[in-house]
Symmetry: C2
């Protein structure tokens, strides 16, 4: 089976041209040696630090090109590193491999990079492929994970952790790089702790690669793959908008991949201006039922019909279905029954009366999909549940009803449904994702070279050109949180949800009325690699004020300035003013911190 | 309703850059005046010439830049021209409007171009928008038909023809340009004849614009929109191939828009190398039943499983469903019953026993779709029939059966289905389609300027760069043929089907075994407007040896050469050799012509 991995491939003309594209390194990673500067220690909740005694509370790391005062890494020993793809393939993943391989070989040509074949299963089974320049040549800047493949995505149970440790020991790995999203990086944190506990010398590094764009926090601005996915999807959505406007007879319901959070849907709405975008987080926050949602859409259809418009484009995230409170409750019951071994055809008879009523109401195609076994992270198989069809059908029924009753006098409502996921996921990665992933690959090397364990590679200031990017590493433990899921408390890197008070959401909301009625469709066009548009960034990346680490640095500069002004010998009034101002600031911050905002 | 047409739009950065892109004119259309040279008279079947006494047998026209001997158009009178979009929107359509408008204004600034709003309905109702530079500015090189819109696509009944004539007379039009595919150009031919018969002074011109790519014949090499559609679809198919290879657990069944003929599916297969492509023409020629097809796919799945491969990508044209003999027969019965006013819920009871058996066998979702009313050209609503789901379902059932019987020992078969049409149809047009459509727009002007009626604008030698393109016009009557459809004989521009003896089909066939088993996927990448790939042509355009008119010209050069060699005074042996050779050639050609090859 593994014989097919890493084989050279016939590339199209454009693929060939892409394969010779060389991303830049930001100045901080140029030359050798690269310095590492340690920042503040990170804080975590007590219960987390108890579970992660070896890897929590570690300091942030920044990589800098030979800065005076920084600890210079002058020894460049030979290294053996393993790498594994986990979870949904995300465009750009191959470039992490390339960047890491290049950095390893650059700092010591004898170093080795082993790719595990077929994801975590390959890790457990110690199936490896030694990465070479030759093997990489037809995979540089290319999409998919087919260089190494992936299967199951879990490294969680005691058995799995032990199998991973055995593999790392047997292969004498100095480092294990895990490429994936929230689930895989949670696994990486646990693996790092287990390795440290067992005094295994392999250091574990995580890399934020997920098309969902939901691995976001103070340290991580963006995920590899999100930019490409949003650009490809936005192109398709815009094409459909143009189509809608030309034919003027259909409503298109487009469901977007992206798991529970609605980042992909939100970004695509910013790029393409559809008539409506349903944000799962908003539905959950407003506790909208499926009937509320149907009514909202019907009212929109009716408002447009009054302006003689019988077409439209409505985006919805695949996570919508589990954000509708009553459907979520139904799914929880189903999954719990499945876990208790109840067979699929018996489940409907064992639901609570309330869940049963909903189950009976829903069309058969949806109930079949709701009955599917949950994913490895215990969540529903979102890609398989056709929420777009459910909504389109409910809207059609309601519009027909309104027409019969005479409250709607327009033309018949016609819907066409799409699920946009697989068509985008295997795309050639955008320039941004190529560059970002390549740099992250280099950062992985420097993390391992500094001997750090349980860190995630980070690159910040991403909205600016690559020569202004900052490279660093943050302990994954600092990204862990505790969350109630169903009845269990889980510790993990939890998906960031769309911030309903944030700038990104706001910029869609404030245009929503115009988008709904005025057809202000916008087509970002197909992904470009040259010329106009090639260097564009995701809108949400540019809208949000992301540079958390930069702001901490700026704050430190202010504190230093105060210190340098208020020195013995300065005027009495200056000291007084400083005292009063600083006392007020610390009071405010103490209150905020104890309220949980900090 | 029309107030929304032609409004300026907010364009994305890439759209703006595209809107200022200026296509080239081939040398033959540069400068003024452009000359027109008339070639041979065209031949048509007797029955056609009887129905088209005024417009059949007209001569071919070629446009040339001031060539000595050509008839020079020196008077450049003011002109009033109307233009209407008919049929499915096709990327590039807007550029025909632009090219025509530019040529009109260039030759006489007082000339007027009126766009009919909302397709043929707008033509009948005389709803127009006067095209201006200002209006065009945000529609140049952009996709869709939203500048003018389109509704119903028919100009066929006596009433419709009369309404069109009334409109042309009332608006004092010198020309009416009809933009569309086979059906619309058939209508154009009939309109031209009716106008000539009624001594209406408006000349009718057709333009080959259809994403289906099925308006092909000796005079027409390619259709506007086909290039874009195939490139966008191939990108998506390739992305799915990469996805399949990365996840290794799904078979993707992708149905492609393109009406009855399989040109789009074939071209996409050439660009992306999926595991399998089903060509409707092949199914029809081999009289494959739906069970044969299912078995073929199952055998392929089984062969791949033996190589431990559980993923794959299978393309099928939307026209496949009507190419399966027994389904076609069933559809004919259904449509005939519908025409006789039988209500949908009664139809299943009135089918012949044989059709009824098939109807009962098929899954409900498909029978519902088969019961839809036919399109305006009496064909089935292909975009609404989910053949991909039908096949996936039948294959799944058969694979499960084989597994139970023990003849298949591999993993469970999993399918994911896609219909790729609407996502591609509204795309920004490729450079090729922008250029081609723009030049066709200019050609329309020259056809009208030469006073020709019932002609289609043609551009040939398209596989070469624009500066080698030849521009001309061919009487649409020369493209008409008679065909049996069901029980009726229809005269029309019939869709060209895939030539099973042609080079394009052959180049897919000879690779089919490698494609099936070796995963030689290829990703042409997203549509590029700059840099590598931007100037690429459809593979089928380059493979086929298309230059019919060029070859007739070359032949005439040979004949001229023979005449110039064999003149009184030349040697006796030369005359003898010439006589013997020419007698043999004419004998062969006479036999071929009487056999119907000519």
């Amino acid at each position: 089976m593994e014989s097919d991995y890493g084989v050279p491939r016939d590339l199209s003309h454009l693929q060939k041209m892409r394969s010779i594209y060389q991303p830049e390194l930001p100045p901080c990673l140029q030359g050798t040696p690269v310095g590492v500067e340690f920042g503040d220690a990170t804080t975590v909740a007590d219960s987390i630090s108890q579970s992660f005694p070896h890897t929590s509370g570690q300091r942030l790391a920044h990589f800098l090109a030979k800065v005076p005062g920084a600890q210079i890494i002058s020894h460049l020993p030979e290294m053996r590193v393993g790498l594994v793809f986990c979870g949904r393939q995300s465009p750009g993943g191959h470039n992490v491999v390339w960047g890491l391989h290049e950095a390893l070989k650059f700092h010591n040509p004898k170093s080795t990079l082993l790719g595990f074949l077929g994801g975590s299963e390959g890790l457990f089974a110690q199936k490896t492929l030694e990465i070479t320049d030759n093997i990489l040549s037809t995979y540089k800047n290319q999409g998919g994970y087919d260089l190494l493949g992936r299967t199951k995505d879990q490294i969680r149970t005691k058995e799995q952790v032990n199998a991973a440790m055995t593999a790392c020991n047997a292969l004498k790995l100095d480092g294990l790089v895990i490429i994936g999203g929230v689930t895989s990086n949670t696994d990486a944190a646990q693996l790092a702790e287990a390795f440290a506990e067992a005094k295994c010398s392999t250091k574990v590094v995580g890399v934020p690669v997920t098309l969902n764009g939901d691995l976001k926090n103070q340290f991580v601005e963006a995920n590899v793959g999100f930019d490409t996915i949003c650009k490809v999807n936005s192109q398709l959505i815009s094409n459909v908008c143009t189509d809608a406007l030309s034919a003027e007879k259909y409503y298109y319901f487009i469901r977007l991949m992206g798991r529970k959070a609605s980042h992909v849907a939100l970004e695509c709405a910013l790029q393409s201006h559809p008539n409506m975008v349903i944000i799962a987080e908003e539905v959950a926050a407003s506790k909208l039922t499926i009937f509320d949602l149907t009514k909202q859409i019907c009212d929109a259809v009716q408002a447009r019909a009054e302006a003689d418009k019988y077409h439209g484009v409505i985006l919805l995230p695949e996570g919508l279905i589990v954000s509708i409170p009553e459907v979520y409750a139904l799914l929880q019951e189903i999954h719990s029954l499945l876990q208790h071994g109840v067979s699929v055809d018996k489940i409907s008879t064992q639901l609570s009366p309330w869940a049963s009523a909903l189950f009976e109401f829903l069309p058969t195609f949806i109930t079949k999909q709701l009955l599917l076994n949950p994913e490895s992270d215990y969540s529903a198989q979102l890609s398989q549940i056709e929420t777009e069809k459910l909504l389109a059908q409910l809207v059609e029924v309601e519009m027909n009803k309104r027409q019969k009753e005479g409250s709607y006098k327009g033309k018949k409502f016609n819907a066409i449904c799409h699920f946009s996921g697989y068509q985008a996921r295997g795309s050639l990665p955008s320039k941004f994702d190529c560059d970002y992933a390549y740099v992250l690959g280099h950062v992985c090397y420097h993390i391992l070279s500094a001997g750090l364990n349980g860190y995630m590679a980070t690159v910040t200031n991403l909205k600016n050109p690559c020569n202004q990017w900052h490279c660093g590493a943050a302990p994954i433990t600092a990204m862990l949180s505790i969350k109630q899921e169903g009845r269990a408390l889980t510790v993990g890197v939890h998906p960031a949800i769309v911030d309903l008070r944030g700038k990104v959401y706001e910029s869609v909301r404030k245009n929503s009325q115009k988008m709904l009625l005025d057809d202000i469709y916008r087509n970002p066009g197909p992904l470009q690699f040259d010329g106009p548009g090639a260097d564009s960034r995701a809108v949400s990346l540019c809208v949000e004020d992301l540079d958390y680490m930069g702001r901490i640095k700026e704050l430190n500069e202010y504190l230093e300035k105060v210190r340098s002004i208020v020195k013995p010998g300065c005027h009495q009034d200056v000291v007084k003013a400083a005292l009063s101002a600083m006392s007020s600031v610390t009071n405010i911050l103490s209150v905020m911190a104890s309220n949980g905002s900090a």
